[in-house]
Amino acid sequence: MASEKSVGGLRCFEVLEQLSDYLDGELSAEQRSKLEAHLAGCEECTRFGGEFGAVVAALRQKLGAADVPEAAARRLDEALAKKA
């Protein structure tokens, strides 16, 4: 298990905790540089961080608005027209 190893002043578990904040740009400059120092020296966290980032990126890019079925769109228009 990767949690006990300390690299760059951070343990793997602490990296796991901070992955979302890292991805969302919400770490301080100091936190970010410590985390990046850990990643540079820890193959396991680099791999898992890459997977985590790839899944979140795909979620952001691939799942957009859905096509509204024609019948549902018509029903919506009719319901709104009644409120006119």
Partner: protein, 189 residues
């Protein structure tokens, strides 16, 4: 014309402006509701109720945050109402796992299988399946924050959570999604 301008006109009775807002946002509202409920018919009802509510309450929208965030927040309330109305629907109990447990399920510290993950992430259907397999609580925070791209503040407000609580829920949900993608999204379907 921006959403704020359209909303201002619509709240003064300009129905063409309201129709333009509906046309812009109905796909997002329907997609959010369908992915949250996993039920296209219910999602159509939620979409309809959302825009009827929006029409009624638009004058009260203060323009804080995005209009889409406000609409999705209404849609979420409509989903909760619909669930409450469905008498006899069993409550889903999801055990709370610790972060290391969630990490391990997501493959933290496990051997690399980059090809399989890349293929599953690449396929939209694989992502949809994985998302559908998650508990409701995880799915809704991912839909609002990552799929719809609401800000952290907007997401927290839509869920009625503090930003810190929302961030914690989001991180756990992302780990659950990684695990579900790796499983092929089959668990829980």
């Amino acid at each position: 014309m921006t959403d704020a301008e359209l909303a201002r006109r619509a709240s003064s009775g300009d129905r063409a402006a309201f129709s333009a807002l509906v046309a812009t946002h109905r796909g997002a509202v329907f997609g959010f509701a369908r992915r949250l409920t996993r039920d296209a018919d219910l999602a159509a009802d939620v979409m309809q109720e959302t825009f009827l509510t929006a029409l009624q309450k638009l004058a009260g929208w203060r323009g804080e945050g995005s209009l889409r965030g406000w609409l999705l927040s209404i849609a979420r309330s409509q989903v909760l109402l619909a669930r409450r109305r469905r008498a006899g629907e069993p409550a889903v109990f999801e055990p709370v796992e610790s972060l290391p447990e969630l990490g391990l399920e997501a493959g933290w510290g496990a051997p690399l299988d980059p090809l399989a993950l890349a293929e599953r992430v690449e396929a939209q259907s694989g992502l949809e399946r994985a998302l559908a397999a998650l508990p409701d609580e995880a799915r809704e925070v991912l839909l609002l924050r990552d799929v719809e791209g609401l800000s952290g503040d907007e997401t927290a407000a839509a869920l009625g959570l503090s930003v810190a609580a929302m961030k914690s829920r989001l991180h756990r949900a992302r780990l659950q999604l990684v695990a579900a993608v790796k499983r092929g999204g089959l668990h829980g379907e």
